[in-house]
Symmetry: C2
Subunit: 212 residues, 2 copies
């Protein structure tokens, strides 16, 4: 079960809320990037960035010099992951909507200092985007690790919203001669584009070919 | 040209910044949703929501009862629109990246009260997601308009970041026997799914069929 706090209790469209923790995992695990919200000098700032999950901890990373993570370490953050699954084309403009799955996580980001946890977090971040690459590419060296901040965020305070299915129109609109339905949005991987300077004879590895 | 303020001057990866206003328009006009950042009770909050653009104004909307827009009207917001175009699979984990186009807009959201501007904003919001629907579906009635807040945000303070192309690896890594390149992410519309309760004889309109 997901926790209920004032922030995660939906004020509107409660029927779209999920309190199932597996829904939270599903939304996070099938995403590529999140939008990280921080408050800097009193102003909101929303940064697209990668993430990874291990159990009930979300990992974020950045350069040790990045403005957004300086603000984020030890500070309140909101991490949002959103999938757009389709357009809901209703009989009325007012009931137009989007089929989506989204997760919002609130909490205080903790700067990870333990080297084992830092590596585990970076591995989770890499594997979220590109499964198989951690065991395939060159691992970070000491200098690269020193240049990288890893932040941990508990999934304790989270909410999930999901909208699926056909439009919900006003009762009187169902007799209109207006087409209604869903236009699905499909996301897929294209054919790998080899780096032009790659020497000949190095094939696309199977874990990348298999994603298509 | 885009303005330069402390917030829109990139601290890192300056080479990815664009100061071309047409890049800003392109990123915004090809998006479906944005992530709206607000500060509520001192905490950041990031909400996925629709938007529309008219000239140098971005329009947002929501229920008059929504928590996020109550915080947003007259308050500082940050709106971020992100496109993920592909994964950058480098020879080293450290140089893994994402090909993306993103725009961040900072400013104070203005609650729109003029009825003509409200309608124009709602039209832009609808057409951003579903071009052609404003002239096809039933327009908002007085009750629906009363239940809808429209916010305007100037595009004056905005930044754009774009990453394209092959990995940038460390010089010494180019001799590794590791495949490197880009895995493109492709987004497309699927076949329209007609509402199961739609009466027979109403075809999918051409402006929806044409999107595929």
């Amino acid at each position: 079960m997901l926790s209920t706090t004032p922030r995660t209790t939906l004020g509107r469209e409660k029927h779209r809320g999920s309190t199932d923790r597996t829904d939270l995992y599903e939304v996070l695990d099938s995403g590529l990037i999140c939008h990280l919200g921080v408050v800097r000098d009193g102003h909101p700032m929303v940064i697209p960035t990668g993430y990874g999950r291990i159990g009930d901890t979300l990992y974020l990373h950045g350069s040790t010099g990045a403005k957004s993570l300086r603000a984020g370490g030890g500070a309140e953050v909101c991490v949002t992951v959103t999938h757009v699954d389709g357009l809901v084309l209703a009989r009325s403009i007012f009931n137009h909507s989007v089929n989506y799955r989204s997760a919002m996580i609130y909490g205080t980001a903790r700067l990870v200092t333990d080297e084992d946890e830092r590596l585990a977090g970076l591995r989770a971040l890499t594997e979220q985007l590109a499964p198989g690459q951690w065991d395939y590419a060159r691992l970070p060296n000491r200098k690269e690790l020193a240049a990288t901040s890893v932040l941990a965020l508990s999934l304790e305070e989270a909410s999930v919203k999901i909208r699926r299915g056909a439009p919900n129109d006003e009762p009187e609109d169902y007799s209109l001669q207006v087409w209604a339905g869903v236009l699905p949005l499909v996301t897929m991987w294209g054919a790998p584009e080899t780096d032009p300077v790659l020497p000949e004879g190095i094939d696309v590895p199977i874990h990348i070919r298999e994603r298509q």
